[in-house]
C-alpha cells in the first residue's frame, strides 16, 4: 500500500510574520450564487487580493450559435441568465430583427415589453431574496419567493414554461396573451407595490442591514464605468445609463417611467436602485396593459421557424409547372442582408449586447454576447480588495451575477 500523499489535502497555514492565508471560496459555496470560485489572499479577515475564477459553466454558446439558424439559437439565450430568461429572449430577438431588417407589429412589442418587465421583477425578487439571505435576513427570502411564485405561474399561463421560455419569436411573439393572463397580471400589479413596502419594512431601516450594506463596496461613477459595470450597479453610482431610455426598443418609447439613480455607489445604494426599479416596472406593465393595442402578434416578414437558407423557386411569368418553362428566378440570392450590428438591451443584470455578423445565410457568421455578469465578476476583484470576507458576500450579492450568463 502506498503512503497517501498529504499534498492534495494540505491546509494553507500562516507563514510567520505577515499571517497571510490563501483561501479558495467556491465553486460549491452557496453564497457565490452558482459555480463561481474566488481565490482570496487574506491577512486575518481582510482581503489583500481577490481573484475570481469563472468558466465552470462554459458551454460555448458563441460557437454553437454559428452552427444553428437564427430561430434555433434563440433557445441558447434562455440558458444565459436563467433567472430572467425572458429578458434575454427579448434582447436576442430585438437584435436579430434589427440585423435582418424585420418589422414587429405594435401588439407584439407591447406584449414583449410586459414579459421583459415581468422578467425584471422575477429576477430582482430572486436577487433580493438571496442577497438578504446572504446578509442574514431569512424572512425576506421567504416573502420574495411567495411573490415570485405568482410571477412564475403567470409565465406559465403566458407560454407554458416557468424557467426557459423561448416565448418571443423573431418578428413577434409565439402566441397571444389570454384574457385570464391579463386579469391575473392586473391583480398582481395591484397588490405588488404593497408587498414591496412589506420587504422594505423588514430591512430598509434595519440596523443590521444598514451596518452590512452602507459604505460597503463603494464605487465611484467613473470607476464603475471604466470597469464596464452596467445596469442598477452603475446607476447606484449615479451614472444615468439605462438602455430603455438611451436606445429604446419595443414599446419603451411609448410608456412613461423614471430611471432611479443612487449617489453613494455602495451596496445600499444598489439595493435602493433595484427596489425603485421594481416600482417602475409595475408602472410600465400597468401602462402597457392599459394601452395594449389590438392586431397581429407576428409581422408579415417574420421568418419561418424552420429558416430555409434559400428562397423557394419562383416561376417566371408565362411559364407553367409542367411545361418545362420553370425558371428559378432567385435561386442563389441571399435571403438576408450581409453586415454586422451591435444591439444591446437592458436586462435585469445590466447591458446585454449581441454583436452579430451576417453573411447573408440563415446562420450568424459570428455571434458575440456581451454579458453584464462577466463584467461584474471581473470588477469583483477591485470592489472586494481591502474589505472583509463577510463584505465579499454582500458584494457578490449586490453585483447580482449569474454564472450561466457570465460563462456562456
Amino acid at each position: 500500500m502506498s503512503v497517501p500523499s498529504r499534498k492534495i489535502l494540505e491546509v494553507p497555514v500562516a507563514d510567520g510574520e505577515n499571517e497571510r492565508y490563501s483561501l479558495r471560496m467556491g465553486p460549491q459555496h452557496p453564497a457565490t450564487h452558482g459555480v463561481l470560485r474566488v481565490d482570496l489572499d487574506l491577512d486575518g479577515e481582510t482581503i489583500m487580493r481577490c481573484t475570481p475564477q469563472v468558466g465552470y459553466l462554459h458551454r460555448g454558446f458563441e460557437k454553437l450559435a454559428e452552427n444553428r439558424t437564427y430561430a434555433q439559437a434563440l433557445i441558447l439565450t434562455d440558458r444565459l441568465d436563467y433567472i430572467g430568461a425572458m429578458a434575454n429572449n427579448v434582447g436576442y430577438c430585438v437584435a436579430v430583427e434589427r440585423l435582418l431588417g424585420i418589422s414587429v407589429p405594435m401588439r407584439a412589442k407591447y406584449i414583449r415589453t410586459i414579459a421583459a418587465e415581468m422578467s425584471r421583477l422575477s429576477s430582482h425578487l430572486l436577487w433580493l431574496a438571496t442577497h438578504a439571505l446572504d446578509v442574514g435576513a431569512m424572512t425576506v427570502f421567504l416573502y420574495c419567493f411567495r411573490e415570485r411564485e405568482i410571477l412564475l405561474d403567470l409565465f406559465e399561463e403566458l407560454c407554458g414554461a416557468r424557467l426557459t421560455y423561448s416565448y418571443p419569436r423573431i418578428g413577434g411573439v409565439r402566441q397571444d396573451v389570454t384574457s385570464r393572463f391579463v386579469d391575473e397580471l392586473g391583480r398582481f400589479i395591484d397588490i405588488f407595490p404593497s408587498r414591496i413596502e412589506e420587504y422594505e419594512t423588514l430591512i430598509d431601516t434595519n440596523r443590521i442591514w444598514l451596518k452590512r450594506t452602507v459604505g460597503v463596496g463603494k464605487l465611484s461613477g467613473a470607476e464603475a464605468l471604466a470597469l464596464g459595470i452596467t445596469g442598477a450597479c452603475l446607476r447606484g453610482s449615479g451614472v444615468d445609463y439605462d438602455l430603455r431610455k438611451h436606445q429604446p426598443y419595443d414599446a419603451y418609447d411609448q410608456v412613461d417611467f423614471e430611471v432611479p439613480l443612487g449617489s453613494d455607489g455602495d451596496v445600499y445604494a444598489r439595493y435602493r436602485c433595484r427596489m425603485e426599479e421594481m416600482h417602475q416596472s409595475i408602472r410600465i406593465i400597468r401602462q402597457c396593459l392599459d394601452q395594449l393595442p389590438p392586431g397581429p402578434i407576428i409581422g408579415p416578414d417574420a421568418p419561418d421557424l424552420i429558416m430555409a437558407n434559400r428562397a423557394p423557386a419562383r416561376m417566371a411569368a408565362g411559364s407553367n409547372r409542367y411545361g418545362g418553362g420553370l425558371i428559378q428566378l432567385i435561386r442563389d440570392q441571399d435571403l438576408f442582408p450581409s453586415g454586422d450590428i451591435y444591439v444591446a438591451t437592458e436586462v435585469p443584470k445590466g447591458e446585454l449586447g449581441f454583436y452579430f455578423i451576417s453573411e447573408g445565410s440563415n446562420r450568424p457568421y459570428r455571434m458575440h454576447i456581451r454579458s453584464p455578469s462577466f463584467m461584474h465578476i471581473s470588477a469583483l476583484a477591485v470592489v472586494a480588495r481591502g474589505g472583509l470576507i463577510a463584505d465579499l458576500i454582500a458584494n457578490i450579492g449586490s453585483l447580482d451575477v449569474v454564472l450561466g450568463e457570465s460563462d456562456r
Partner: protein, 201 residues
C-alpha cells in the same frame, strides 16, 4: 453626433490609419490598422466632441470564411458608446494571420482586462502589454482556440487535464475524504466504497 460624422472625424485625425468605412442598418464601423489602436481609442474617449466613455464590447472575429475580400484574417471589434452625448461607433482593427496581436487597451478601460482575456482564450489573439493574459473561460492547459473557424464544433477529443483530475479524485477517494485521517488503515471511517478500495490496495 451622427455616426458618419464620427467616422469623418477619425478620417481627418488619423488619415493613414483608417482603411475602410462600413455602414449597415444605421450603424457605422471603421476599419483601422492595428498599430496605433490605443492612440485612436484614447482620442475617441478623451476628445470633447466624442467622449466615448463606455467600452460596450470587445471581441475577436475570424474572417477566414467571409465573402467580403480585403479584410485581415482576424479582427478585433470595439463597440464604443458615449453616455453623455448618446452616440456610438464601431472600430474594427484588422490583423494578419501571421501575427494576430494588438496593443492592449486596459490602460484606457480597466474593464477591458477580462474582455481581452476572453478574446485571447477563444480566438487566440494576443494583446501586447496586457497585465495578465491568461485564459479565462477554458482551463489553462486547453489546446487551441475554439472560436477559430478551423476548430471543429465537436472539439478535438478530451481535455488533457481530465486524466490528472481523475487521478486526483481517486487519490481523494482513497483518503475517504477526511483531511485529518492519518491513513486508510486507521479508524473505521469510510463507507462501503472506501472499504472496497482498501481491499484493492
Amino acid at each position: 453626433m451622427e455616426s458618419m460624422a464620427i467616422a469623418d472625424g477619425l478620417q481627418a485625425r488619423f488619415p493613414e490609419e483608417i482603411l475602410q468605412c462600413f455602414s449597415f442598418q444605421g450603424q457605422v464601423g471603421v476599419g483601422i490598422r492595428p498599430d496605433r489602436v490605443v492612440e485612436i481609442l484614447g482620442w475617441l474617449r478623451d476628445d470633447q466632441a466624442m467622449r466615448m466613455d463606455h467600452l460596450r464590447s470587445l471581441c475577436g472575429v475570424d474572417n477566414a470564411r467571409r465573402k467580403n475580400g480585403g479584410l485581415g484574417r482576424f479582427e478585433v471589434v470595439y463597440n464604443l458608446y458615449s453616455i453623455a452625448l448618446r452616440h456610438e461607433i464601431r472600430i474594427r482593427a484588422q490583423l494578419t494571420e501571421e501575427d494576430p496581436s494588438i496593443d492592449s487597451v486596459v490602460s484606457l478601460w480597466s474593464g477591458a482586462d477580462w474582455m481581452e482575456r476572453e478574446t485571447y482564450d477563444l480566438m487566440g489573439i494576443r494583446f501586447n502589454g496586457h497585465p495578465n493574459l491568461r485564459r479565462v473561460l477554458l482551463p489553462d492547459d486547453w489546446e487551441g482556440h475554439p472560436l477559430r473557424k478551423e476548430y471543429p464544433l465537436r472539439g478535438r477529443g478530451e481535455w488533457v487535464g481530465i486524466t490528472d483530475l481523475q487521478a486526483k479524485l481517486e487519490e481523494l477517494d482513497a483518503h475517504g475524504f477526511k483531511a485529518d485521517d492519518p491513513g486508510p488503515e486507521a479508524g473505521d471511517a469510510g463507507d462501503a466504497a472506501t472499504g472496497k478500495r482498501k481491499g484493492d490496495c
